[in-house]
């Protein structure tokens, strides 16, 4: 008999605590900042409990309502789920602390922020735990709704446009995914991932191929892989800082996570041809996104395009993993985790700069380095991880992917991985450089609360620290992975 509270309790708590918090914040808008932060703390505790349980005992399963699948909901927390939940929890805690200070003088926005944000957190945790293709659809839609509403939070024309475009795209992506679910249900008679994985071998190839195609297309659209990234910069660039942080750090990861699950556990590595295609798109995204980031005049858009570039790295793992297997996925996941922490820190820093200077034009940062040293430090440290310099989470991820690229003799990918790092350094240091120089006329500045500066800094430090923790994180990612992709033949035209 497992001890109380055990895996089941922690699992339930990590979803129902933020859900309850969201409802309470909705009902008691004036108490929302306090309730919200309290909820964040409790959720972090729940996720931590789950993390420790999974580390100690392995995968945890929880059946909701006592029914078996497919009617009941089965939640399963393995290493991959828990790693992403932990990243979400860390970012969530930072964002919650930050948001309290950020929305202190914007009560209307604050009142909407808390319930929506906690709803988003709930949906993310539920998504990471679900092992049922249809429940995954529902949680994916919930993530999309909450994210779109958050994007629209400040009510400006730009924010509304970004939010509407994102919502439409998100719905389209989810429906495309759902079409795949319909086909899979037809072929396998189940939507439970484990059952589907068992039966998919005997299903008609055409149906499986179409399902793989529509599901991948939908999720790729939602993850904003080049050239389907067009909706991302306006949405991430126009939302309030804590929301941008959440969108870039967490929301795009949800659809990527789902795609990864499908490829690993349902489609057994997908098709080599499709993997190759995604990898090439990813490579283009790295270069194109980085160059676009370099050309931005505004800090938030720079960050948004940087996210487009970083997403490219995740997809370069698909063809590499077809040969390189688990180590490549580990590298890509490392990049996902590090990017989550680092990009959240960067967007939060940018929010502090915006608050301080009332603008985010890069050329006019006017000696931020003396005036907001902690914020600039957070930005630069997070930048180290984005560039993939050691020691940082980003470095470990890139190292693993580079290693695979070299082993497979794919020097084109090697070049892109390295070039992406150099371009990232160029855009990060373009900002840092301007932070040292004064502008022609002095600018009025507004005070930035310490909570905003410190939450960003701590997230950035976490991204760095992640680079020293592979001995802890890599084994965690392997917990519950039935079989890492291995059986897929090498793609024909490698190199």
């Amino acid at each position: 008999m497992p001890s109380f509270p055990g895996g089941m309790e922690w699992t339930l708590a990590s979803v129902f605590v933020p859900l309850t918090g969201a409802l309470l914040c909705f009902l008691l808008p004036r108490r929302a900042p306090l309730l919200g932060r309290l909820t964040a703390l409790l959720t972090v505790a729940a996720v931590l409990g789950l993390l420790l349980t999974v580390l100690a005992e392995g995968t945890q399963q929880t059946a909701l309502g006592g029914w078996p699948a497919p009617l009941g909901i089965l939640w399963r927390a393995d290493g991959l789920s828990v790693a992403l939940m932990a990243m979400t929890a860390l970012v969530g805690l930072g964002v919650s602390v930050y948001a309290h200070a950020y929305f202190r003088d914007k009560h209307t926005e604050g009142a909407f922020f808390w319930p929506l944000w906690l709803m988003l957190w709930t949906a993310l945790d539920a998504l990471f735990l679900s092992r049922d293709l249809f429940n995954l659809y529902v949680t994916l839609e919930l993530v999309g709704f909450a994210a779109a509403s958050l994007t629209a939070l400040d009510g400006s024309a730009a924010a509304l446009r970004g939010a509407i475009r994102y919502l439409l795209i998100s719905m389209l992506g989810s429906l495309s995914y759902l079409l795949g679910v319909a086909l899979i249900y037809h072929a396998c008679g189940s939507v439970d991932i484990v059952l589907v994985a068992e039966r998919i071998g005997t299903a008609p190839d055409l149906v499986v191929a179409v399902a793989l195609g529509t599901m991948t297309a939908g999720l790729v659209l939602k993850t904003a892989l080049f050239p389907l990234h067009f909706w991302l910069p306006p949405a991430h660039g126009s939302a309030p800082a804590p929301v941008s942080a959440v969108l870039s750090a967490l929301v795009v990861k949800a659809s990527f996570y789902l795609l990864l699950r499908l490829w690993l556990e349902v489609f057994d590595g997908g098709g080599p041809w499709l993997a190759e295609f995604l990898g090439v798109l990813g490579a283009v995204a790295v270069v194109w996104g980085s160059v676009a980031a370099l050309r931005q005049a505004r800090l938030k858009l720079l960050m948004a395009y940087s996210t487009v570039a970083q997403i490219g790295y995740f997809f370069m793992a698909f063809p590499l993993a077809a040969v390189g297997g688990g180590a490549v996925w580990a590298g890509a996941l490392y990049l996902v985790l590090a990017h989550g922490l680092a990009k959240a820190a960067m967007f939060l820093s940018v929010g502090s700069v915006l608050r301080f200077a009332r603008h985010d034009r890069i050329d006019e940062l006017d000696r931020i380095v003396h005036r907001l040293p902690l914020t600039l430090t957070a930005f630069a440290l997070a930048g180290v991880s984005i560039m993939g310099l050691p020691p940082s989470g980003g470095f470990i991820g890139k190292w693993l992917m580079l290693e695979a690229a070299f082993r497979q003799g794919r020097y084109g990918f090697v070049a892109v991985i390295l070039l992406g790092g150099v371009l990232a350094a160029a855009y990060v240091f373009r900002v840092v450089g301007h932070a040292f120089t004064p502008t022609a006329r002095a600018q009025r500045a507004r005070e930035v609360p310490a909570a905003m500066e410190w939450s960003a800094l701590l997230l950035a430090l976490a991204a760095i620290l992640l680079g020293l923790l592979p001995p802890l994180v890599l084994p965690l990612l392997e917990i519950g992975q039935v079989a890492v992709v291995s059986g897929v033949a090498a793609p024909a035209g490698s190199g």
Partner: protein, 529 residues
């Protein structure tokens, strides 16, 4: 000598970490100090520097006792972060710890009353932390880590002044170093996929794959050398260095003598000796091109220096030239040349830092930035110019100064290796050195001062009354380093001298077989175990 690093004894993991911490911890505290807390900041700075010196001294002594110093942190499967203290590390550690101490004193004096000193000294300390990390790297992964860290921590120092020129110099610096960093990373990962290990060992670890993948190894060598060569300012990767002269003088000293350029040169030494093994590298045919690059750099740097009127730029090009002596010594495959190259790590550091300290003093006290303004300064700042003269003569290679020892060993080494062209390079370079240093000395000592001195009241030691204190802080370091450049030249053959230490390193690298034991490594002395 007693065998270093007895493998029987358990390794001491604490000391390498303490060496890192002795600058890291004060640095982190300094970041959070208010600007006006001068006293506490000074105590932290000097305390850290002294502590580091003491720790390095202790490790030197311990190494003679056969103690091993090694700290490990597991990172990836089969790849740890390793800090290990070997003979070569100790040489570089002692150099950087010693010069950091002097540079700190100098910087305290130089920056007295300047803004943003907490930030400056914070990064200053981090920069040295990265340098000692480079020195103690036990494998290529660790080396890459600290090497990149060095890039990141020196950037804020380069742009410290916050001017547009400084920002642009910073961008140029970064463009070079980041690009180089990615080449270094590429070479490192590629090498790892071939050999499955990255741990530094004397005579290298690539021998097993040398027969199967010679082409890949040559490419890796090129990548790695290009990666570290930017910091070592090899032509044509050198152009960041003269531009970085916009930084304050202590930063220049740090860049040229303690940290960045030195780390690059040290990296080349490591790659040739402890990654490839110099003989293996020679077999792969990569030392020849490297020697050629070094030769070109030596001549090109000297030629460019000749035409610079800005004193700091002239010194910067001189650095470009001088650092490649180290590379040349490494690339001429032979024990004596190696000795010359390795010992020049220390010699160039001492002499060049002297020159930069002096240039800073001239700029700070007299407002002199150009060579053409230096007429008669010898009379107004005799001590500074005396130190400058020693540094300059050492660079030219006048005996018995440190630079002479280097050139002597390099020449012997070339002869031993049976090649003659390095002699011509050395001779040409010495002539050029003389051509760009002697006019300065002549103008400073023998020319009449300009009729309207820029700052009449200024003179050594008792400049303006308010800066009297700073004056001594600025004077002491160059005098010390100048004296040291004389002493290590004079007493080069005493135990513990840089030369003796370099001989030890070269012995371990070449490991003479019994049959050749009759060939004495030390000229004029038999083997004296």
């Amino acid at each position: 000598m007693t065998p270093l690093f007895d493998p029987q004894l358990p390794a001491n993991a604490l000391l390498p970490l303490l060496v890192l911490a002795s600058s890291l911890v004060p640095g982190m505290i300094i970041f959070f100090l208010a600007e006006e807390r001068v006293r506490l900041r000074t105590v932290l700075n000097l305390g850290g520097a002294l502590m580091k010196l003491a720790l390095v001294g202790f490790m030197l002594w311990g190494s003679y006792q056969g103690q091993r110093f090694e700290a490990r942190l597991p990172l990836l499967e089969g790849l740890d972060l390793v800090l290990r203290v070997g003979a070569l590390s100790l040489l570089f550690l002692a150099l950087s710890a010693g010069l950091w101490f002097l540079t700190t004193i100098y910087a305290i004096g130089y920056l007295e009353g300047a803004p943003h000193r907490s930030r400056f000294f914070g990064f200053f300390s981090l920069c040295v932390t990265a340098t000692v990390g480079v020195a103690m790297s036990g494998n290529l992964l660790t080396f890459v880590l600290f090497f990149e860290l060095l890039t990141l921590t020196t950037y804020p120092l380069v742009v410290h002044r916050g001017t547009e020129a400084a920002r642009q110099a910073g961008q140029v610096y970064l463009a070079h170093t980041v690009l180089a960093g990615s080449l270094l990373l590429a070479g490192t990962v590629w090498l790892y996929t071939l050999t499955g290990t990255l741990g530094f060992v004397p005579r290298g670890f690539v021998a097993e794959v040398a027969e199967t993948h010679p082409g890949a190894l040559r490419a890796i060598f090129a990548l790695l050398i290009a990666g570290v060569g930017v910091k070592a300012a090899l032509v044509p990767l050198h152009s960041w260095l003269p531009r970085a002269m916009v930084a304050p003088a202590p930063v220049s000293a740090l860049l040229h003598a303690v940290a960045v350029v030195k780390a690059g040169a040290f990296g080349i030494v490591l790659i040739v000796y402890d990654v490839f093994g110099v003989e293996q590298a020679a077999e792969l045919g990569v030392t020849g091109p490297l020697a050629a690059v070094a030769a070109v750099t030596i001549i090109y740097g000297s030629l460019r220096a000749l035409f610079q009127d800005d004193l700091k730029r002239r010194l910067a090009f001189s650095t470009v030239s001088q650092v490649s002596y180290i590379v040349l010594g490494v690339a001429i495959v032979g024990p004596l040349a190696s000795v010359g190259g390795i010992v020049h790590l220390v010699h160039q550091g001492l002499m060049k830092i002297t020159l930069f300290f002096c240039a800073g003093n001239l700029a700070e006290t007299l407002g002199i930035h150009k060579v053409s303004e230096m007429r008669g300064v010898g009379r107004r700042m005799p001590w500074t110019m005396a130190a400058f003269t020693i540094g300059a003569l050492g660079m030219i290679g006048v005996p018995p100064l440190a630079g002479f020892i280097t050139k002597w060993y390099l020449s012997l080494g070339a002869l031993e290796a049976g090649v003659h062209w390095p002699l011509y390079v050395l001779m040409a370079s010495s002539l050029l050195n003389a051509a760009y240093f002697l006019p300065i000395l002549h103008a400073a000592w023998f020319a009449e001062p300009d009729p309207a001195p820029t700052h009449a009241a200024a003179a050594d030691g008792h400049a303006a009354p308010s800066r009297a204190h700073a004056g001594w802080l600025l004077l002491l370091p160059p005098l010390t380093t100048a004296a040291l450049s004389v002493l290590i030249g004079l007493f080069a053959s005493l135990p513990f001298s840089p030369l003796e230490w370099s001989l030890l390193i070269a012995e371990r690298e070449f490991e003479y077989p019994e049959a050749r034991a009759d060939v004495p490594l030390r000229p004029g002395a038999g083997s004296d175990d």
